[in-house]
Symmetry: D2
Subunit: 480 residues, 4 copies
C-alpha cells in the first residue's frame, strides 16, 4: 500500500552497476509502454534490483508518465499500472547494484524538467570522472538528489542545451565531458536519442517494427517484441530518431583500433541469443570452449557446463575435442532474490540448494567441467566436490575466461584485488584450492578472437585499460 | 515488497498544499527519529498523503538517513524501519495534496547534496513565484525532478551558499527571492534552521526538551513529546540552532501591521490545543462562536457542533447565548483514506456513513448547528436534513467563518470561484439551497478579533491580498 | 501478494471476544455485499482484528463467496474484491480478540458444507461449555480446524439438522446444548436465521429496507445503510427470514425476570446512537451521569468527559448538577492499531500521544472528570496529572460504572482479579493511587435504572452470575 | 498487511492437483522447520500455488505451529516467520491447482484437533470416491470447511482413531475406504507416518540425516538437505517413524503386477535428479529419447530439446542416432506466475517472450526437436515456426510420450477429451496442424521399459485404468 523509501546520501555510495536500457518511438502514435515492458523482460538478466518505464505522447501535451520501483519487472509492473502509462515514445531501464545501498530514488529512468522541457534518461555504464563532474556542477549551484551517474549526465545535457541548437548537439557536447563507459537512451518530447561511449564498452542496438523504432542493450529484446534488427549504434555515435527517421552524428567516434568493448558481455553478461557489433554471443562462447579444448586438452569421458553460462562453452569444448557433451547439473529455477540463505552452521548449503548433480551422468566418469569464471573461488570447490561425491573419477575444470587480476572501472562489479582468488596465485595454487584434477583458463590472446576480432578491453586481466584509470587516492574515496 | 512510483512531470501539477513540518536537534547526541515520529503524529491532521523523516549525526560522518513514503505516519513508519534512522539532528514532514497527482517523489523532506555538503529541507506553504524561479534556474542549467516548491527553495539556498559565509546567510539571501507563504525547517550537517515568510502566513514555533531544540508547525507537537514551548519564530525571522543555542536574524521582518497570518489556521486547520503567536486556537474558536451568538442570535433549545471542528464554536455560542450545548452527531472514527465511497445509485450515502444523529438529543427541539465553513455546500443540505429527519423542529445554521468568495494563492486549497456556493449568491439564496431555517456567517470584521488582534490575511473573503497575486493569465497556467 | 497464516492449535487459545454480526437477505435479488460492508463499517468499534463477508444467491446455484482477513473492514475490503461477492443473502462479521493468538483461520463468518448443503455462520459471544462440547463432538469423530466457538455451534447445528425438519428447528435444538452468551446470524441457502441466547447477554436487532431484511448487532448499522428498525430479536428467540417474511420461535425464551443483558453494552461497548431492547445507549449514559451527580456531588467549575465514551455521562452530570459542561481533551484521531508504542525509557508517553489537554478550558478551575471505567488503573493517574499540569486546581474523578471486582465468562475481556485495581482496595485507596481530589463510582443499584429497568447481568460487579460459572479448576484450563 | 481469503464452497470445485509432500522428525530434538523449507524448495516444481509448514515439539506441550499461504515457498516464508516455527517434528506441502478457484483455505498442511489430540496432514494425489466419502461423513454430522480431499482423509483417520490402538492402525483402516491416488505424510504429536496408495500412483521416499528421518515426494529433496536415501515407501505400505525407528505395515500392499505408477512422474513431473522405486528419472528420459530414435528415425543435422523437460530425451535421441546434440532455445528464466500475458491483438506472443531461438545453432540445418508431450497443441506450431524463421531447413518433431487420449482421474490435470489435440486425429493430421516435416510419438509399449519394468498406469493413453473410473454421470458433476 505504501511506497517506502530508505535513502542515504551519495557521499556514501559509489556503486558499480550493470544495467539494461530500452527506448521506443512509435511514429504511428501507438502506446509503447507494453512493448517496453516486454523488452525489459528480455533484458532482466542485466539488472534485477529495480526497473522503470517512462512514456510521453509526441502528439499530445508535453507530459511524462513515469513508473519505477524496486524489484523485477513483473513485480513492479502489472496490467493495471501499465495500462495507465500512455504515450508513443518512451524509455525503460533495469538496474543492478552490486554493493551497499539499493534505494528507490536511484531507480531509472530519470525524468527531469529543464530549460527546454522534459527529458527521460536511461543509462548503462560507469563514469570514472563522475565525482569531478559532480563537484564542478555543485560549484555552479547544482543540487543532487540521487547517487547515480545518470543525474550528472542529465545536468550536463541540460547545461549544454542552453546554447545548443538541438538536443542531439547537447548530448554530443555533454559527451565531451564524460569519461568512462556508457550506453544512453534519452527521450526529449519529440525525439529518441541513443548514444554509446567512444570506446564502445557497453552495447546498444537499433531495431524496427512496423513504423516504430527501438533502441536496446541487446538484440534479444528486439526478437522478444517481434522487431527486426537494423544495426548497432557505433561506439561514439549519437543517433537521433524522429519522424524523419534515423540521423547519425559520428563526430565523437574513435579509430576502430581504439575501441574497447567489455569482453564480459560475450563471456557472461549477455544472453546467448544476442548479437553485439556483428558477433553472436552464443558463437563466441562456443569458440571459447573450442579454444579451451585446443589450449588445455585433457582426456575425459564427458564435458559438462556449470549452468547456465557454462553450457555453450562446454558444447564448444565437446565439438573440438570429440568428447561427448553431457548434462551434469540440475538447477533449481526457483532460487531467486528473496531466497533465504542457509546459516553457516546449517546442514544445508547454498550451492546444494541451487544445484544438484545427475549421478547417472557422471558416476564412474572422467569429467571436464566448464565454468565462465572464478572470482573469489568460494563455490568452485563445492561444485567439484559434488561431482566427486556423485562418483566422478576425475574432475578437470576449464574456465572460459582468463584469470581476474585487476579492478574494473567501467561498470563491471569486481571485488578488490585481495579478494580475487587469482591475485598473487599460480594456476596450480588455485587448482589446489578448488580441489580439481586439473585447471585451465582461456588465454588472454584468445579474447579478441572470440569477439570476432573487434576491439575489446582486457583491463581486468592485464591492467591495460583503454583510458587512464582514476588515481589511487581518488579511487579509495570513489569506491565506498 | 516493492516501492512503486507513479510520477508525472511538474508542468501538469500546480498543487495547493497544506503541510506540517518538524525539526529537532539533540545537543547531547541522542537519536531524534523517534521523537520526530511522535511529533509528526501530532501534526498528522496537517497532511495525510505522505510523510518522511531524515536524520544525521552531528558527531559522526556527514551522511543522512532518509525514509519517506505515501501514507500516514503509522503506515510509513514501523519499529523496524524507524530503528534504522540514526542521528541527533533531523527533519520531518507530513504532506497533503489537494488535487491531481499525489506521487512518492513529491514526498518530503528533500535531501540534497550541494556545494557545501548535505541539506535536509521541509517546507509548508505555497510560493506564488515558483514558476518564474524555476524558469530562471532552468536557464542557468538547473534540472528539476519533482513538482514541489521545496526543490526551488533548495536550489536557491544551494546557489546562495556558494558565496555566503554561513548557511543562515544563504537562507536569508534565498528568502529575498521567494514570494508567498512558507515555513521552513532546514538542517545542515551541524545546524538546524527555521524560517517563516515575512507575512507570517504559516506558523512555526520553537520548543526545548532537556538539551534538545525543536521546531514545529504547531505547539501541540511540543506537548506530545513532552517539550516546553520556548517562543514562536517571528514572521520573517530566520533562527539558527547549533551547539551555542538559538541565533536570530530578523533582517527580513516586516512592520507588524503588514503581517498576514492565514486565519484558517485558527478557524479550521490547526488542532485546538495549539497556540499561534500567543493566541490559543481553542480560544479563538470559542470567540468565533460567541461573536456568532452576538451577531446572528436566534431562539433555540440546543446548540450543537458539526464534529470535530464545529464543537468549540458551538460551545462558545452556547456560553454567549445561554442556550444549552449538546451533542447531536456520532462520527464513525474508522472512516479513513481508503474508505470505499458509495456509488451514486446506492442506498447508502457518504454523509450517513460518516455521521449519525443522536435522535434523543435533537428530537422535538429547535437546533442551532455550528459548522466551520461551507465551501461547495454539497454536504450541508444533507446534514440539515438528517437533523430534521431525527425530529428537530427547526435547524438554524451558523458558520464560524465568513463566506468564501475568492481564490487563495498561499497554500489553502480553495476551488475556483464558480464552484464556491457563496460566489454570486446572497445568504438567503445559500440558505435556500441547504434547507435550513436560518443561516448566519461570521462577519469579516470579527476575524482580527478572534485572532487576538494579530495581522491576518483575509484575501479569500474580501480579495484584499497582502501581496499582489499572480496575474490572471499566469494563474491560468499555474493552476492545473 | 500472499495470504499468510500463522496458526496455533486451539488448546492454547481460550479467547474472550467481543464481536459484531450482520446479516442481510434481499428478497428482490439485489446484491447485498456492499450493504453488509457499510453495516460492518458501522459496527467496526465492536471488533478491529479481523472481518469477513460471505454471500450466496438464493435464485442461483448453491454456492457461497467468502472473503475474510485480518484487519479493519476498509483494509480487508476494496472496490475490486467487494465487487466479486455476488449474492442476495449474506452474513458479515467483525472480530476482536483480546488475548493471545489472533489468527486468520479464526476470522468469521464460518462457511461450512454439511448434510443439507451450506451454512454461513457469524457469532458474537462466549460459550462457557465450549470445551465440554468439543470433547463430546470429538468422541464421535469431529475434527476441529479453528479455536472459535462458532465451529462448535456449526457442528451442533449440522448434527441436529440430520433429524430436524427445518434449519430453524436444528438451530433451536442446538441452542439447548449451548451455555453462555451468543447472538447468532446464520444463513442457509434460502433462509436467514437470527438467534439470541435466552439470557439476552448480546444484542441483535431486525431491520428492513425496501424488500430486504437485516439482522445486526446494533441499530446504528441500520441507520448507516438507510434501513428502518423493525424490532429487537428477543432473548432466547430464533427468527427465520425467508421469502414469506419473519417467523419466530420463542420456545427457548425465559421469563423476563431471568434476562441478563451485559450492562457494558450500555456503558461502554455500543455506539451512543444505538438502541437495545428499547433503551437508547446515549440516554443510558446521560442517566449514568445524572446518577453520579446525585450520588457523588462535588463543587466544581466545569464537568469534562474522557473521550469518547465519557462525554455523554459528563453531559448528564452537567445537566443534573448545573455545573457547566466543557471540553478538556483533544484526542489524536490517527492513533490506530499499528501505532508504535513508546518504549518505557522514552520521554514520550502513550497517554500524552493520544490525549492532550486544552489548557484554556481547565486552567485555574476545579474540574470534574468523568470516565466510563477503571480496569487496571494504569492510565487514570496520568490523565489526572495532565489536568493538574494544565492548571486545574482540583480534579474530581467520577466513574460511570461500579468497580470491577470479578471475572466475566460471557464475552467481555476482563483481566484476572489480581490485576483489577478495585480488587481488595477501598475507594479511598484507589483514589490515592490515581491522585485525584475525590473519586466516585456509579452504584450497582443504579445499573438497572440506566438500562431502563431491563434485566441485566451484574456478575463482574457483585459475582451474581445468571448461570453457574465454570468451576475453578476448569476455568484454570479454559483461560489460557 | 492483511491476510485476505476469497473462498468458494466445495461443491463448485473439483480440482485435479499435483502436489509435493515432505515430513521430518529429528529424534535429537532439533528444529526442523528450516530443513522442511529447503525440502519444499526442492519440490517447488510439484506445486507453485500455495505452500505450508507445520511443526510440533515432541519433547514439549502438544501444540502445533502452522504457517501457510498462497505463493512460492520463498514468497510465503522469510527468515522472520520461519524462525517462529519451533519443533522437531513437522510436515510441509506445496500445492498446484490447475483450474478454477485457488484459495488460501485449501492450502496444506491441514492441522486438526481430534479425539486423540492433534494431527498434521499433507497429501499428494486425488481420490475418486471423495464425494461419496464426504456424503457419508456428512450424514453422520461432519462439516467441511475446505474443498480438498485431505479434509476427507483427516475425518476418516479421526473416526478410525476412536477405536484403533495406534495412529498407524487408524491410518491403515482409513486407507481401506480410500479409492484413488495418494501419498500421505501425517504427523501425530509423537509419530511421523507415511503412506502410499496400493497402486503406487504417487511416489514417497524415506531419508535420514544424522538422527533425523525424512519423508519426501522425491529424492532430490533429500539431496538438497544433505540427507541419505534410505528406501522408497512401498505401494500400499504404511510406515511409522518414532523414537524406536521405522515400523512398517504392508497389509494393504497389492501383488507387484497390479502396481500402477503414474508414468508422467518419469516423463515430465519429477526433477531429473530424482529416483523413484529404483529408477532414475534422468535415465528414463534418456531411454525415451533412445526409443524414439529407434522407432521414429529420421535424417537430420542436430537434435534439440524444448527446455527444460525435452533436453534429456534429446540427448538420448542424439546418443542413439549419432546425430549431434545441440541447444536451440534460450528460455527467459524470469517468466513466472505473475507475468503479464500479451493481449491477443498485441505484436508480442507468449511463446516468443518465454523462448528465443539461437539462430547460429539451427540456421541451414535439419532439426529434430524433442518435446515431452503435446496436450492441446497450442504452442507446438509456434515453436516449429520459430525454428523455421531462424533458418532451419527441416523440423522433425519427436514426442517422448504417447498421444494423450483419455482423462486422468488420479491427480494429473488433463483437459477433457475434446480439447486434446490427439483425440480423434491421426498423427498425420496432428503434424499438419503443428506444421512440422514429420512427427513421431513414443509407443505405449515402450513406457514400461523406460520405467525400468515397474508397474505403471497407462490410462490416459489407452483407457486401461488400474481401477474402475468414476461413472460418466458422476464425473459430470465431479469435474466442475
Amino acid at each position: 500500500m505504501n511506497s517506502i523509501e530508505l535513502q542515504q546520501n551519495w557521499e556514501d555510495d559509489g556503486l558499480h552497476e550493470e544495467c539494461g536500457v530500452f527506448g521506443m518511438y512509435d511514429l504511428d502514435g501507438n502506446d509503447v509502454a507494453s512493448s517496453i515492458y516486454y523488452g525489459l523482460f528480455a533484458l532482466q538478466h542485466r539488472g534485477q534490483e529495480s526497473c522503470g518505464i517512462s512514456v510521453s505522447d509526441t502528439f499530445g501535451p508535453r507530459k511524462v508518465d513515469l513508473l519505477k520501483g524496486m524489484g523485477l519487472v513483473n513485480e513492479v509492473f502489472n496490467s493495471e499500472n501499465l495500462s495507465k502509462l500512455h504515450g508513443n515514445i518512451g524509455v525503460g531501464h533495469v538496474r543492478y547494484s552490486t554493493a551497499g545501498e539499493s534505494i528507490p530514488s536511484n531507480a531509472q529512468p530519470l525524468v527531469i524538467n529543464y530549460v527546454k522541457g522534459t527529458l527521460m534518461l536511461a543509462h548503462n555504464g560507469n563514469l570514472i570522472n563522475a565525482n569531478e563532474l559532480r563537484d564542478e556542477l555543485a560549484y555552479t549551484g547544482a543540487i543532487f538528489q540521487t547517487t547515480i551517474d545518470s543525474e550528472v549526465i542529465a545536468y550536463l545535457v541540460a547545461r549544454e542545451r542552453i546554447n545548443a541548437k538541438t538536443a542531439q548537439e547537447a548530448v554530443t557536447n555533454a559527451m565531451k565531458k564524460l569519461k568512462g563507459a556508457y550506453a544512453l537512451v534519452i527521450s526529449s518530447p519529440r525525439k529518441l536519442i541513443g548514444a554509446r561511449d567512444p570506446f564502445g564498452f557497453k552495447p546498444l542496438c537499433i531495431g524496427k517494427r512496423d513504423n516504430a523504432y527501438i533502441l536496446a542493450s541487446e538484440t534479444c529484446a528486439l526478437d522478444t517484441i517481434g522487431a527486426e534488427f537494423v544495426r548497432d549504434v557505433l561506439p561514439g555515435e549519437v543517433v537521433t530518431i524522429d519522424k524523419d527517421g534515423i540521423k547519425s552524428d559520428t563526430s565523437m567516434c574513435l579509430p576502430k583500433a581504439k575501441e574497447a568493448r567489455c569482453v564480459f558481455e560475450y563471456i557472461y553478461f549477455a544472453r546467448p541469443d544476442s548479437n553485439f557489433d556483428g558477433v553472436s554471443v552464443y558463437h563466441s562462447r562456443i569458440m571459447a570452449g573450442r579454444f579451451l579444448a585446443m589450449d588445455s586438452p585433457v582426456e575425459a569421458d564427458v564435458v559438462v557446463g556449470v549452468p547456465e553460462s557454462g553450457n555453450a562453452a562446454a558444447m564448444g569444448y565437446a565439438m573440438e575435442s570429440g568428447i561427448p557433451y553431457g548434462t551434469a547439473f540440475v538447477k533449481n529455477s526457483y532460487v531467486g532474490r528473496t531466497f533465504i540463505k542457509p546459516q553457516q552452521k546449517s546442514r544445508e548449503s547454498s550451492v546444494r540448494i541451487k544445484l544438484n548433480v545427475l549421478k547417472e551422468a557422471v558416476c564412474g566418469k572422467r569429467v571436464i567441467m566448464i565454468d565462465d569464471s572464478i572470482v573469489r573461488g568460494t563455490t568452485s570447490d563445492r561444485i567439484v566436490q559434488m561431482l566427486k561425491d556423485a562418483g566422478a573419477t576425475e574432475v578437470h575444470v576449464r574456465i572460459s575466461s582468463p584469470p581476474f587480476l585487476y579492478e574494473c572501472y567501467f561498470g563491471t562489479d569486481i571485488p578488490s584485488r585481495d579478494q580475487l582468488i587469482a591475485h598473487n596465485r599460480t594456476i596450480e595454487e588455485i587448482n589446489e584450492i578448488i580441489g580439481a584434477d586439473s585447471l585451465g583458463y582461456l588465454r588472454v590472446e584468445r579474447l579478441k578472437e572470440i569477439a570476432g576480432g573487434l576491439g575489446i578491453c582486457t583491463g581486468c586481466f592485464d591492467e591495460k585499460y583503454p583510458m587512464e584509470p582514476p588515481k589511487e587516492d581518488i579511487r579509495g574515496e570513489y569506491i565506498k
